[in-house]
C-alpha cells in the first residue's frame, strides 16, 4: 500500500470524513453493494407506508369502516374485482381501504411508542448510569425482569391496565403505544446506561468534573452526545418488533377498537374464520402489509447496525487507483 498514489483526491476515504449531521446520509455513504441495496430498499418501503398513512383518505377508495357507497351496500365476502381490488370482508368493508388505513394506525402507534421510549429510556439510562447506587441497581433489576418477559404478554397486561379492561375508542392508540413503550423501554435504558457507565470513567468526563461542571451539565453536555449514537439503531430495530407486537395484540382482540381505526392484526383474526371456506383475500392482504412494513424497517435497522456496530463492520477497502503503466500510454 506504500505504492506511489499520485492523485490522492481520487481515492475515496469517506469513512474518515467527519460524520454528517444527518445520520442516514452518513450510513448510506458507509455502505456499499448489497448492504446499500438493503438500506435503500428498506427506506423506500418505509417511505411507501408513510405516504400511504399520511394520504390514506385520498388513496383509499372508501372509508375504513364503510360498508356502502352512494347508498348501495357492498356485497359481503366478494373476491377481488375491479370495484374492490382486494375484495370485501364478512362485514362488507373494502379490504383495500382497511389495509391503507391500517398503515395509518400502525404508524401512529409506532411513532408514539418510539418517541415515548426515547423520552423515558434515554434520560433514565443517563441518570442511572451516571449516578449509580441503589437507584441504578433497582432500575437494572426491574428492566432485567421486564426483559425476560415475553413481549406480547407484557403488552397485553399493560394494555388491559391502561384501557381499563374495556378498550375505549379514544384511548386505543395511546394505550397500545404505551403498552409497546413499556415492552421496549428496557432496551433503550440498558444501552444508554451501559454506555454511560463506560463513559463516566473517560478522561474527558473527569476533566469536565474537575472543572467544576455539575452532574447535570456533565450528563447533558458531555456524555449525552456520546451515548445516544446507538439509539437510532435500537429505534429502527425495535420498530419492527413493535409493529409485530401491535399486530399480535390486535390478533388476540386487544389493542385498537375496530370501529375507531383499521388494524391489520384484528383483520387477520377476523380472516381466520374465513379460511375454512377458502376465502383468502381478507387475510392475505393485511398480512402482506404487516410483513412488508416490518421487512422495510428491519432492512434499515440491520443495515444501520452493520454499519455502526464495529463488531460486525466489514472493513471497506479504499479503492486504489494505480497510475497507468508507462508502456500502455
Amino acid at each position: 500500500m506504500t505504492a506511489s498514489l499520485p492523485e490522492v483526491e481520487q481515492t475515496e476515504v469517506e469513512l474518515e470524513s467527519r460524520p454528517t449531521r444527518i445520520p442516514g446520509l452518513a450510513a448510506l455513504r458507509a455502505t456499499s453493494g448489497f448492504q446499500r441495496g438493503m438500506l435503500v430498499a428498506g427506506a423506500l418501503i418505509m417511505l411507501f407506508f408513510v405516504v400511504l398513512a399520511v394520504f390514506a383518505p385520498a388513496i383509499a377508495p372508501y372509508g375504513f369502516d364503510a360498508d356502502s357507497a352512494k347508498g348501495i351496500n357492498f356485497q359481503t365476502l366478494q373476491a377481488p374485482s375491479a370495484k374492490h381490488w382486494f375484495g370485501t370482508t364478512v362485514g362488507g368493508e373494502d379490504v383495500l381501504s382497511r389495509v391503507v388505513f391500517g398503515s395509518r394506525t400502525a404508524l401512529e402507534v409506532i411513532v408514539l411508542a418510539v418517541l415515548f421510549s426515547i423520552v423515558v429510556g434515554v434520560p433514565a439510562g443517563l441518570i442511572s448510569g451516571y449516578r449509580g447506587g441503589w437507584l441504578d441497581r433497582v432500575l437494572v433489576l426491574v428492566t432485567d425482569a421486564l426483559f425476560a418477559f415475553p413481549p406480547l404478554l407484557l403488552a397485553i397486561i399493560i394494555d388491559i391496565t391502561i384501557a381499563g379492561g374495556s378498550s375505549s375508542a379514544s384511548g386505543g392508540i395511546l394505550a397500545a403505544a404505551i403498552a409497546i413503550t413499556v415492552v421496549y423501554v428496557p432496551q433503550y435504558f440498558r444501552v444508554v446506561r451501559n454506555a454511560t457507565v463506560a463513559a463516566r470513567e473517560e478522561p474527558y468526563v473527569e476533566a469536565a468534573r474537575a472543572l467544576g461542571a455539575p452532574p447535570r451539565t456533565v450528563m447533558i453536555r458531555y456524555i449525552f452526545g456520546n451515548v445516544v449514537q446507538t439509539v437510532p439503531v435500537i429505534a429502527t430495530l425495535n420498530a419492527g418488533d413493535a409493529i409485530l407486537t401491535l399486530a399480535g395484540l390486535g390478533f388476540l382482540g386487544f389493542g385498537i377498537e375496530p370501529s375507531s381505526a383499521a388494524e391489520w392484526g384484528y383483520d387477520l383474526n377476523k380472516a381466520l374464520s374465513d379460511t375454512a371456506a377458502g376465502i383468502w383475500w381478507t387475510g392475505t392482504f393485511p398480512g402482506i402489509a404487516i410483513a412488508l412494513i416490518v421487512v422495510g424497517v428491519t432492512l434499515v435497522g440491520e443495515s444501520l447496525n452493520d454499519v455502526l456496530n464495529p463488531l460486525l463492520r466489514t472493513t471497506k477497502l479504499t479503492p486504489v487507483v494505480l497510475p497507468p503503466r508507462e508502456d500502455e500510454s
Binding site: 404478554l153 382482540g253 387477520l268 379460511t275 387475510g283
Partner: protein, 346 residues
C-alpha cells in the same frame, strides 16, 4: 473441570445466577399483581353487568378482594410459592390445573417448533456464513428477514390456506382428529402430550394423525424461531472465522471446508446456546399466537379465551406462571452454557 478450583467456580457461578433469578421472578410477580389491580377488582370486570351488585359484593368477599391490597398481595405471593396461581372466575378452574393440562400441549408444540427451528436455523446459518456476501448468503439473509417479519399468525393462515384448504394434505386445526382424541383420553399413564399418548395407545394410524396435526403449527412457529437461529449462527460463525486460531489453521493450509467444519463451527455454537435462553421468551410468545391460529388447545389458546372473557384472575395466573417458566428455562440454559463454555463463569 479437571481441577477442584474449576468445579468450585462453576458452583459459585450457579449459586450467583440462582440468587439473581429469585429477585427477578419476585419483581415480575409483583409488577403483574399491582398492574392488574390498578384497573379495579377483577370480579366486576368479568361479571359486571351480568350479576346484580349485591351478588358481586358477595363474590368479592368470598374471593377476599375486599381485604387490604397488601394482605391480598401476601396471599398471592405465598400461593405462587406453593404453586397455586389462583382460581379462574369464569369457569372456576384452578389455574395450576389448567397449566398442568394445557401446558403439555404447549410443551409438545414448542418441542416440534424447536426441532424445526434447529433443523432450519443451524445448517442454513452455517451455509450463509461460509458463503458470506455471496448468493447463498444474500438469499438466506433475506429469508431470515422475511421469517422474522412475517407474523406467525399470518404465516399460519397462509399455510392453512395452501396445505389444508386448497391441497387438503394436512388438517387445518386442532391437535388430533376427534376420534383419535377420544380414544387416547383413556390411555392409562396419560401425559396429555398427544404423541406419547398415541404411541402408548399403540395404533400407528393414530400416531400418524397426531403428527399430521402438528406439522403446520410446528412449521409456522419453527420458521419464526429458526430465522432467529439462522442469524445468530451466521453472525457468530463469521466472528469465529476471523479468530486468530482459525487464521492459523488456514495458514497451515487446511481447506476452507474443513476450517469451517472442524475448527470454527463448534466454537461458534457456544454463544448460540447462551442466546437461546432469550429465544425461550420469543418461543412462548409465538406459541400463544400459533395456538390461537391453529386452535391448538395449549396455554396460549386458553389465555386468549380468558382474555376475551375478561377473566383477569386467570390471565394474571397464567402470565405469572409463564414468567416463572421463562425465568427457570433461561436459568437452565445458562447452566448448560456455563458447563459447555468455561468463559461464561466470570
Amino acid at each position: 473441570m479437571a481441577t477442584t478450583t474449576a468445579s468450585g467456580s462453576l458452583r459459585t457461578y450457579l449459586v450467583t445466577r440462582l440468587v439473581l433469578v429469585i429477585p427477578m421472578v419476585w419483581v415480575l410477580i409483583t409488577l403483574v399483581f399491582f398492574v392488574m389491580r390498578v384497573i379495579g377488582d377483577p370480579i366486576s370486570a368479568a361479571l359486571g353487568g351480568r350479576l346484580p351488585p349485591d351478588q358481586i359484593a358477595i363474590r368479592k368477599h368470598n374471593a377476599g378482594l375486599d381485604r387490604p391490597i397488601l394482605s391480598q398481595y401476601w396471599d398471592y405471593l405465598t400461593g405462587v410459592v406453593h404453586g397455586d396461581f389462583g382460581t379462574a372466575l369464569t369457569d372456576n378452574q384452578r389455574i395450576s390445573h389448567v397449566l398442568w393440562v394445557k401446558g403439555a400441549a404447549t410443551l409438545e408444540l414448542s418441542f416440534w417448533a424447536l426441532l424445526v427451528a434447529l433443523i432450519i436455523g443451524i445448517p442454513l446459518g452455517r451455509l450463509a456464513a461460509r458463503y458470506r456476501d455471496r448468493l447463498p448468503d444474500v438469499g438466506l439473509r433475506l429469508f431470515a428477514v422475511l421469517a422474522y417479519a412475517m407474523p406467525v399468525f399470518f404465516l399460519g393462515l397462509l399455510l392453512k390456506l395452501l396445505f389444508a384448504i386448497k391441497l387438503g394434505w394436512l388438517p387445518a386445526s386442532g391437535r388430533a382428529s376427534t376420534n383419535v382424541e377420544l380414544a387416547i383420553q383413556n390411555v392409562s399413564p396419560k401425559t396429555n402430550i398427544y404423541i406419547i399418548d398415541a404411541i402408548l395407545y399403540g395404533d400407528t394410524s393414530y400416531v400418524v394423525d397426531v403428527l399430521k396435526h402438528a406439522v403446520l403449527p410446528a412449521v409456522a412457529l419453527g420458521l419464526l424461531v429458526g430465522g432467529g437461529f439462522l442469524r445468530l449462527v451466521r453472525v457468530n460463525l463469521l466472528q469465529t472465522l476471523r479468530a486468530d486460531y482459525v487464521e492459523a489453521a488456514r495458514a497451515r493450509g487446511v481447506p476452507e471446508r474443513r476450517v469451517v467444519r472442524a475448527h470454527a463451527f463448534r466454537n461458534a455454537l457456544i454463544p448460540v446456546v447462551t442466546v437461546m435462553g432469550l429465544q425461550i421468551a420469543a418461543l412462548l410468545g409465538g406459541a400463544v399466537l400459533t395456538e390461537e391460529t391453529f386452535e391448538w388447545q395449549g396455554i396460549g389458546y386458553t389465555l386468549a379465551q380468558y382474555l376475551v372473557a375478561r377473566d383477569f384472575i386467570a390471565v394474571q395466573g397464567i402470565v405469572t406462571a409463564i414468567a416463572v417458566i421463562v425465568a427457570i428455562f433461561s436459568f437452565l440454559i445458562d447452566v448448560v452454557a456455563a458447563v459447555v463454555d468455561p468463559r461464561v463463569r466470570y
